[in-house]
Symmetry: C2
Subunit: 172 residues, 2 copies
């Protein structure tokens, strides 16, 4: 099944900069059967467990996170770049290749002990996701799963997420 | 029903700047019943018509657009800020309060004569959405509906979208 889905991923050389072979998921999203199958595959990971919230990271993460929250009958919690969320937030800084960035979540978004999934489109080095995990831990969420559409296995992002259940639908 | 949903929208004064009363949808999104009801209300608009693609605008638009595309069994097409989409794009410039901005869509995202919905969280002055309509017209899509969660009626955004079927779930 994952081989079928992989056919809908397009590789774009030198984006966003020279030397990077970008995995373009827009060709999967626009194919209704492939998009449905991708979301359903993510839902299968939780095997009927009751999930309170799906957390996702803007912007591409929102696409799978929102569809999955809808499918599972869970609430949806956006994690956003600094300054985008209007109410009181908690935040975490994380390192990028050059410099740092900040992610924020509303302070009152999640009740303690909530069962959550965290969803993003791509696991590369795992830096962004480990920042989101820190946010989730700050509000004492119970992380039932961290789900990616795509995992770039060579970059070993999984190692940054040790101790958490990490799932990916498509491995490269 | 819309009164029930409105209870989940939080108003935040002076965000993103002084004098603006921001409609915060994150409190609706995190409530599983309200999020489901909002998406289902959007789906009712199309009354069983077959939709090929749902177009949405980053970032908040992605949340409702992706859930709706999943619900309707349609493909999902992201409209993004300049430079975010990796393949060949078409673009449109539009005016903001100060200056201009650019939205892009992949050139090959939509086949001519496709039946589409365009979804965003909020209709204010309608400037962004009329730019998205221009993109959709460039690829000869058939716009079956433009759907917003929230419409700020005083700002008369509907007038910028004349000739298209515009729907909003919550009117203020």
């Amino acid at each position: 099944m994952s081989e079928q889905l992989k056919k809908h991923i397009r590789s774009i050389p030198d984006f966003p900069k020279e030397g990077i072979l970008f995995k373009d998921i827009s060709t999967l999203l626009k194919n209704k059967a492939a998009f449905k199958k991708a979301v359903d595959s993510m839902a299968k990971v939780v095997k009927g467990k009751k999930i309170d919230y799906v957390l996702s990271i803007e912007s591409r993460g929102f696409i799978f996170g929102a569809a999955l929250a809808y499918k599972l009958g869970a609430g949806f919690v956006p994690v956003r770049k600094k300054g985008k969320l209007p109410a009181e937030t908690i935040s975490v800084n994380y390192s990028l290749e050059y410099g740092t960035d900040t992610l924020e979540m509303h302070k009152d978004a999640i009740k303690p002990n909530s069962k959550i999934l965290i969803v993003d489109d791509l696991l590369a080095t795992g830096g962004t996701m480990s920042a989101v995990v820190q946010l989730a831990e700050k509000v004492q969420a119970k992380i039932f799963g961290i789900i990616f559409l795509i995992e770039l296995c060579d970059l070993k992002g999984r190692e940054k997420l040790k101790g958490y259940p990490v799932y990916s639908i498509l491995k490269y």
